[in-house]
Amino acid sequence: MKSSHQVKTLQDKQWNRSNEPIWWSLFGAGGVVVALILPAVILITGILIPLGLVDPHFMSYVRMQGFASHWLGGLIVFAVIVLPTWHAAHRIYHLSHDLMLKPHQLYFILCYGLAFVITIAAGTLLLVV
């Protein structure tokens, strides 16, 4: 345990601006998608369609391709894939801090790097469909 006696006063301390707002904003946006949209996506694609409770034609390849190639549909698909990825990356990175896994930079690059790769991949694939 570090002794607080080591710090005399914080008056002259230099407080440096953190870049965390970038990651936190993506985390927050991802949280909204995970909480509100992902359950509906799972219900439709994971339960209703496989069980035949909804006409499979609604999610046929042609219809889905049409949806994803429209700019608005593409944007929605992009957001639903990418934002939860940043959400998860942020959570796992902070979990690595909680578990005292070191070095921090390695986990930073692994977590946010993977989210970045998925973002580029999703964006590229959506542009070519």
């Binding site: 002794s3 607080s4 710090v7 601006r17 953190s18 870049n19 707002p21 936190w24 801090h97 909680d98």
Partner: protein, 262 residues
């Protein structure tokens, strides 16, 4: 009558002990007894060397914070009946150094508290003849719950992030920063903003929320910090386009004040 309850109390005398140890005491159990009453019985009748801190016995001074069965609690607001007939383990607040026995050294928290300037800052001092600053009920409601903090330090003992990295400004200090930033009478936000925006400021919080759970005054530091995160993110965005509020120092305030008065 005649019931006894077992208190397992952490003892540590830095002049004699290498490390803290546990000592067990049997105290008469009465339904109305608080944990603090149990400690007082122990000191009065069983071991007068027992050291702990208390003052008001009515959950307003914030002096008697202990870990009771591992949970941060005020000794005066926690009752032995909620544990009887099981033994009760009493230890000093976690995440702080121990001064002696149950007295923890919370001076690190006090330094953080000073750093966020927990007082109303005005750009120029008003005169007494101007009367009091008036405030609408809506303006009061915005910060009122955060002003209930009694600086007991339970939230620091609860915060896992403070436990991992004690550079973190921490729950109570940040809740009080939010309290002054949201007070309509205050004009000192620009002086507090550098602390808020720092890694050691609001950004060390991962919204575990245990601080709010243990708070004996129902302050919600976790909410205050996360509302501050929104403010800090907006300030970050403004900073990127060069429109952020310029952080001020105490010297700037004096300059402004002198300019207005002069």
């Amino acid at each position: 009558m005649g019931d006894k309850i077992t208190l397992e109390i952490m003892r540590y005398d830095p002049e004699k002990d290498d490390k803290p140890r546990m000592q067990t005491f049997q105290v008469p159990y009465v339904y109305e007894m608080s944990v603090l009453d149990g400690l007082q019985y122990t000191k009065d009748h069983l071991d007068q060397t027992l050291t702990y801190r208390y003052s008001c016995k009515m959950a307003i001074c914030g002096s008697c914070g202990f870990m009771v069965n591992g949970v941060p609690k005020l000794g005066c607001k926690t009752f032995l009946r909620d544990y009887f007939p099981q033994p009760v383990r009493i230890e000093p607040l976690a995440n702080f150094p121990i001064e002696k026995d149950l007295v923890s050294d919370i001076s690190d928290f006090i330094k953080k508290l000073e750093a966020i300037k927990p007082y109303l800052i005005r750009e120029n001092k008003g005169s007494l003849k101007d009367g009091a600053y008036s405030q609408t009920p809506e303006q009061l409601a915005r910060y009122r719950q955060y002003s209930m903090c009694i600086n007991c330090g339970l939230c620091y003992a609860a915060c896992p992030q403070y436990g991992l990295k004690n550079e973190f400004v921490g729950p109570a200090a940040l809740a009080l920063m939010h309290r002054y930033n949201t007070d309509s009478r205050d004009q000192g936000r620009a002086e507090r903003i550098p602390v808020m925006n720092a890694e050691e400021g609001v950004w060390s919080c991962t919204f575990v929320g245990y601080c709010s759970e243990v708070c004996p005054k129902k302050v919600d530091p976790a909410a205050a910090i996360n509302q501050s995160k929104v403010l800090s993110s907006i300030d970050y965005g403004l900073h990127l386009v060069g429109k952020a509020e310029q952080p001020k120092t105490i010297d700037d305030r004096h300059r402004i004040s002198e300019r207005k008065e002069g």
